[in-house]
């Protein structure tokens, strides 16, 4: 068996986690591949500010730090922000796959330009961060949002009839007005809309979570992993410090309700 660890960027209940796990149904993986979903111990409430990006990097690094000795063969991150990916790549030898980087590279193998389709504009910053890192800003035709506050625990469930047409209309504008050849879903939490959009749009729609699982499979099969010159190892690995920090964050947050956003 080949095991992929999928890191989920928010602490959550089993029921909420099932919404994340449902992504695996959208892709055929080799029969010897197992996906294991692991939520982080503590997290920022949303990913909309540089405060959140920094916290996200640290808590995802911590959640995946032991992946190799836990017997996993690859790690995927369940957020297109690719939070924690660079840091995990610096300490792990097994492939660490970020759906953002993977989605953008795949998009430009399918067309010249891609557009980002988002729930709200507050996510645009995390897209431009990865685009700039990759030097692909000029390949992004546009970013459009439907101005609906996302629910990063329950996702789109129960809101399909309202949200799916809004997403389709925004994506059509990306194609017709902005010149997108490919639509990138702006979050792995939008996966429930992927099938609808793929059926109702004239261009490819990339569902980033399932794509990342398939790319992890590909990397394992081809025996490829991240480049050590791009992701050098730390001279001093502060593993104990890292775990202590995130444990302290979890203790500080313990018992507090998830903050309301509206």
């Amino acid at each position: 068996m080949r095991k992929i660890l999928v890191l989920v960027p928010f602490p959550m209940t089993d029921e909420e986690l099932a919404n994340r796990q449902a992504q695996s149904k959208a892709v055929d993986l080799a029969p010897d591949i197992e996906l294991h979903y692991r939520p982080v111990k503590a997290a920022p409430r949303t990913y909309t500010s540089q405060q959140d990006y920094v916290l996200a990097d640290v808590v995802l690094l911590e959640a995946g730090r032991s992946a190799q000795e836990d017997g996993f063969d690859a790690v995927c991150i369940d957020t297109v922000s690719d939070s924690g990916v660079a840091a995990l790549r610096s300490v792990l030898d097994i492939p660490v796959i970020g759906p953002g980087r993977t989605m953008y590279a795949t998009a430009i193998t399918l067309g010249e330009k891609f557009s980002m389709l988002a729930m709200w504009k507050d996510w645009f910053g995390l897209y431009t961060k990865v685009h700039k890192d990759m030097g692909l800003s000029h390949k992004c035709a546009s970013m459009r949002a439907i101005d609906v506050t996302p629910d990063n625990r329950n996702l789109l469930g129960g809101k399909e009839e309202k949200i799916f047409p809004l997403l389709r209309d925004a994506a059509m504008k990306c194609i017709e007005e902005d010149g997108a050849d490919v639509i990138c879903l702006g979050s792995t939490t939008m996966h429930q809309s992927a099938e609808f959009l793929a059926k109702n749009l004239p261009v490819p729609v990339i569902n980033p979570g399932p794509l990342s699982y398939k790319m992890a499979e590909l990397a394992m099969t081809m025996r490829l992993s991240q480049s050590r010159t791009a992701y050098p190892r730390p001279k001093v690995d502060k593993r104990g410090m890292l775990h202590a920090m995130v444990d302290a964050a979890a203790v500080e947050q313990a018992g507090k309700p998830v903050e309301k956003l509206d």
Partner: protein, 254 residues
């Protein structure tokens, strides 16, 4: 009196902080501004890997997070990596000035293409990342190094005769590749700035002192960072961040 807080990126002792503070002597500042230097609570030991950068972001952010409440008028980050700048800007209204971004953009006021002098080959990745992130890769003529492991406390002290000529040679190689301005790649190189400025025919930017002067400029012009570029968090988590760094410090005492 205006007060700026300078965050020193390593948990240094008083002597180490004094070496950092010596940078203020390199620049003439107005009489009504003072700089307090504060080391981080805990942080990475090395600074060459994405693992280190993630910890450094947290460390500097935490050290500066309360600056506004403490009455400071500005925050300066004493590292060319600009670690912690983005989260601090998201949480603070007072100017947060950092030398990496500032020295590259200042270099473009003095010439069209700049070179960045790195300490050793292990630092090269970080500069590539920074120039790409700021959209300045085309303006960066070269990044070169003088092959000397960094000493974050003693800096270049006692090694001048051996190291300064190697620094000059690296700058000259960058000039051959089209560099019109040299950015020192670390605030820890400040002791070599005067030597290089004398020996080289092009401007040499000493990043620490540049930031002190920029703080004065920002405060004088009543300017600060754009909240459109650095949006405030919807849910700030300062207590969580403090708890994390206190826990980090405890692991260093063991």
């Amino acid at each position: 009196m205006k007060k700026a807080l300078v965050i020193v990126p390593f948990a240094l002792d008083d002597a180490g902080v004094a070496n950092r503070k010596a940078q203020t002597k390199a620049v003439k500042l107005g009489p009504d501004i003072e700089f307090d230097f504060r080391p981080v609570t805990a942080g990475p030991t090395s600074f060459m890997s994405a693992h280190d950068w993630a910890l450094m972001e947290m460390a500097i952010w935490e050290a500066g997070m309360t600056a506004q409440d403490e009455g400071y008028d500005a925050v300066v980050i004493d590292t060319m990596s600009d670690s912690g700048m983005a989260p601090l800007r998201s949480m603070l209204d007072i100017p947060v000035v950092s030398p990496g971004r500032a020295s590259m953009l200042f270099a473009l006021m003095l010439g069209n293409r700049f070179g960045i002098l790195a300490q050793w080959d292990k630092a090269l990745t970080r500069y590539k990342k920074a120039t790409a992130e700021y959209g300045l890769a085309d303006q960066c003529a070269a990044v070169d190094h003088f092959d000397e492991p960094p000493d974050f406390a003693n800096l270049l002290g006692g090694k001048e005769d051996k190291v300064f000529p190697k620094m000059k040679a690296a700058c000259e190689r960058m000039m051959d590749k089209g560099a019109e301005v040299i950015c020192l790649g670390s605030t820890t190189m400040h002791q070599a700035a005067q030597f290089l400025a004398k020996e080289l025919p092009i401007p040499v930017i000493n990043p620490g002192p540049l930031t002190y002067k920029l703080v004065e400029t920002m405060l004088g012009l009543d300017l600060s960072h754009s909240k459109a570029a650095f949006p405030a968090p919807l849910v700030p988590k300062p207590e969580m961040v403090h708890a994390m760094l206190q826990a980090a410090k405890a692991t260093e005492k063991k």
